[in-house]
């Protein structure tokens, strides 16, 4: 038998297979396993974003800002140097925040509070946890800040152990347009409407730095005609029962003046009382509240009720609001983000109305990679979205952190995913713990640089001009910590 025959047949097979592959490549589709849109109420999407996309009208006229020089008016005589569009940070707009930090650092007066809004990038307290630690390391402060009653990402949050009963009714600004009561600053409102079973929530401090205890647990809730509601909880061996008095638009109830290790709170006869969440802070130093929501585009913030937010502001006294969005706006199909820019500018304006005088910081989208042909590359939407975010930051007089350039710019997500040890997940979108820590550090470094410059400018200004007017803002103690 001629056994050599099959060697030559193999050669024929290889050649013909290559040729037929090239033919198939020409006639058959380029990709298989394409995705059809999944319509399910269980998939987390931001309903306002979907509406905004649906309403998006024609291309807007671009007024290029690329060559704009951003010049500042001084605040209390401190004037930051002018910046180009390219390198825009808008530190000037953080002046009031920097001044509060300065008072805190030098005179140990007051405390500083930051509201950090975000999407799945900050889910499970990623980024924010480390951001908070960097601030508390430098300026003091203990506690994780404001925490929701229920959270989709409670299990992945390492900075606090958070458990809750299944029978809470949750309304989120991502899905509900007309909530039964106004949303809290966390964009949620919760109800213990189950009369058959007790609704409960439990918090336990974890081994996170500056959050090893739950300092001064305080419950926040809104107004209701139900005056029968009460909470039960145990401290040491004592069972404590307290009445909930939902008399004002926003009410705060301190559960303990001391630091607790853990607390489980039962809600009784509390149906229809809007519950917002718990705050854990020691009243000193810096506190950062993480308000993250998977799927959030940032647009839902526009639905905040002004009076309710002002009530929150009078109790919590925010000095800085951070908006870190973008990941959910990246893949909607067009590279024109003028609609998003316009709507987010409105959101920022609304925030300024809700929180008068509070500085605002926009953190841009991070790099995200997508497969083009066979290769992963930076998604073509990243740069246009990034530019849109910078534009509404400038137009709304907000400061800006360019996460995309900070993490390395074009192609950096691929590096973050592929390097050992990895800093981002295989979805080429989300950071892991390591990456989140680095991202928080990059943000902190930029803010700290701005703060150091502020101190220098302040000193120079002091030598040459009249002393700063003692703005009442700087010495405001928030009502939660009034003694």
């Amino acid at each position: 038998m001629n056994t050599s025959k099959y060697f030559f047949q193999t050669l024929v097979v290889v050649i013909v297979s290559v040729l037929s592959f090239l033919a198939f490549k020409t006639i058959l589709p380029k990709k298989i396993f394409t995705e059809s849109k999944l319509n399910s109420k269980s998939v987390v999407v931001d309903s306002l974003l979907l509406e905004a996309i649906a309403e998006e009208v024609g291309p807007a006229v671009e007024d290029s800002m690329a060559n704009t020089v951003i010049d500042y008016k001084g605040v209390n005589g401190v004037r930051f140097p002018a910046e180009t569009f390219e390198e825009y940070t808008g530190n000037q707009y953080l002046a009031t925040f920097f001044e509060k930090l300065f008072q805190l650092e030098t005179k140990k007066i007051g405390n500083v509070r930051i509201a950090y809004f975000g999407d799945s990038m900050t889910d499970g307290d990623l980024i924010v946890k480390d951001f908070r630690t960097y601030f508390q390391e430098k300026f003091g402060g203990q506690g994780v800040g404001f925490v929701n009653i229920t959270s989709e990402s409670a299990t992945s949050r390492s900075s606090i152990i958070h458990e809750f009963s299944e029978n809470w009714k949750t309304q989120s600004y991502l899905k509900v347009k007309q909530p039964l009561h106004p949303f809290g600053v966390n964009g949620h409102v919760f109800y213990a409407n189950d009369t058959a079973n007790v609704a409960w929530v439990k918090y336990k401090a974890n081994k996170t730095r500056f959050a090893t205890v739950l300092p001064r647990p305080t419950l926040f809730y809104g107004s209701s005609s139900n005056k029968e509601g009460k909470i039960n909880y145990v401290i040491g061996t004592d069972t404590i029962s307290k009445k909930i008095s939902p008399n004002s638009l926003l009410n705060a109830l301190v559960l303990s003046e001391s630091n607790l290790k853990s607390i489980k709170v039962d809600f009784k006869q509390a149906d229809s009382i809007p519950i917002y969440g718990f705050n854990f802070d020691d009243g000193k130093g810096v506190h950062v509240d993480n308000f993250s929501n998977r799927g959030n585009s940032g647009l839902p913030i526009g639905s905040f009720d002004v009076a309710t937010m002002r009530a929150f502001q009078s109790k919590l006294n925010y000095d800085l609001i951070i908006l870190q969005y973008g990941a959910n706006v990246l893949n909607y199909g067009s590279l024109n983000y003028s609609w998003y820019e316009k709507r987010m500018a409105k959101v920022v304006a609304h925030l300024k109305e809700c929180f008068p005088g509070v500085a605002i910081l926009i953190i841009s989208t991070a790099d995200k990679a997508t497969k083009y042909d066979l290769e992963m590359k930076t998604d073509s939407a990243v740069v246009p979205l990034n530019t849109a975010q910078k534009r509404y930051a400038i137009k709304s007089e907000s400061s800006f952190v360019n996460m995309f350039t900070l993490m390395g710019g074009d192609g950096s997500m691929i590096q973050w995913v592929e390097q050992e040890p990895a800093k981002a997940n295989k979805d080429y979108t989300h950071f892991n713990h390591r990456g989140a820590k680095e991202a928080a550090n990059l943000i902190f470094i930029q803010l700290n640089k701005g703060y150091e410059l502020y101190k220098k400018l302040r000193k120079k200004q002091k030598k040459s001009a009249v002393p700063i007017k003692k703005d009442s803002l700087f010495f405001n103690t928030d009502s939660v910590h009034e003694k």
């Binding site: 013909v16 297979s17 290559v18 033919a23 396993f33 999944l38 987390v44 990402s153 497969k371």
Partner: protein, 504 residues
Amino acid sequence: MKALFSMQNWFLENVGNIDLETIKNWFLFNPKQPLLFNSALFLGFFLIFYVIYILSRKTHYFRITYVVLFSLFFYYKSSGVYFWILIFSSVVDYSLSRLIYVESKQFYRKFYLILSLVINLGMLAYFKYTNFFIANYNSLFDGTMTFEDIVLPVGISFYTFQTLSYTIDVYRRELEPTKSFMDFLFFVSFFPQLVAGPIVRASDFIPQIYEKLKLTKEDFNRALFLIIGGLLKKAVISDYISSNFVDRVFDAPNSYTAFENLMASYGYAIQIYCDFSGYSDIAIGLALLMGFWLPDNFRTPYQSASITEFWRRWHISLSSWLRDYLYISMGGNRKGKIRTYFNLFMTMLLGGLWHGASWKFVVWGVLHGLALVVEKFFGQFIKLPKNSLVRTIQVVLTFHFVVFCWLFFRAKDFTTAFQIADNITKLTFDFNQWQTIILGYKNVFLLIAIGVVWHFIPVKMLAGMQKTFSTLPLVAKAVLLGLIYWVVYATASADAQPFIYFQF
């Protein structure tokens, strides 16, 4: 002229713009792009290689040297300058084995053997375990030793075991050494199995070097069948489910539901099997097409009814190597019951460590080792009835134990592994939720299902499929192979599954 132009256009569209830089990259080492069997570049190289190979089939020295050079190039593409290590170990092992063979005094024979073991295992230890050792030293003694900047040469774990089998077989007088160094290097560097096995025994392979090169009809058909199946398993099922589902869940298990955690664990079991067995199948097929027989490496392992059986079906070339050269060298079952259990356990522990320098691999090996010991111990007293119901229960239990052990193998650390295990315990039956998730990842679940069904296709039916394939005309086989390339290509260019967050 016009025809030429359109031809050029067609070429540009389908093959891409080829400039000097591209061509240079084809031949240069790139650690990020090893020459994988499922790449177009390999196909191109193999085509050209094969023409000269079959033309020189009647020669010995030329053909052997030619394959060695191609293999070294193949190795260089994935490991760069480390191909010198391959050559160095080969020189050492060839020379020491020759000395062992000609030496008659037992003392010297033993000395040469130990020298060979020390050098081979020493190199393996240096490249693979130095930083593991440093990390452990540091954490035990609060040390501050800095990590060495060591790159692990691709396939060193595989070819070290191969050369060891040669030296030990010669020492045991079970094998005659090769006639020349080049023949030995051919055995060590043979590219189909060089970087990922199967681990070929010297006694199986070396005699084939001196036989007349032949490719029978059966082998030809089997080879093509293996390559087609291997490509589908490796480059379609495994690659797709890993990057679109399994990797994501293992990256951040707490961001996913209990059901997704469970499915990712099953998915990983299918992924690693398809990846590894698929690659082995392609290797075996390629070797067959070159006229060489390599041992089977996988026999549908998840059909096993016990862990003992699992290890007769999973990575067979490794488990039989460990049995013959490690377990038996430690005394096997010849030194009493207790020693047998100990040897079994240690073999699996070291076998675990062979897979990677990390405690999680040790734990993986230990879990399997304990299971083997438990099975051996209770097997003496308990005889289960042999019927299909009992067997089904055993298969299900064995599979779940294997899946549990894979958690440690796959997760990046113990914390993640336990998180996944913990998340799975929170599973509750919720048909609607499961349905939504399955629809959300329908391609992934479809491929996992195909992987599972494929795994349980009866042997007879597979043989029937192969027989049908054999009867196809030559061109049909080639077109089918071309179609498979397209499936691989279209899967590789498929969009990544968009990110979905479920909330229930």
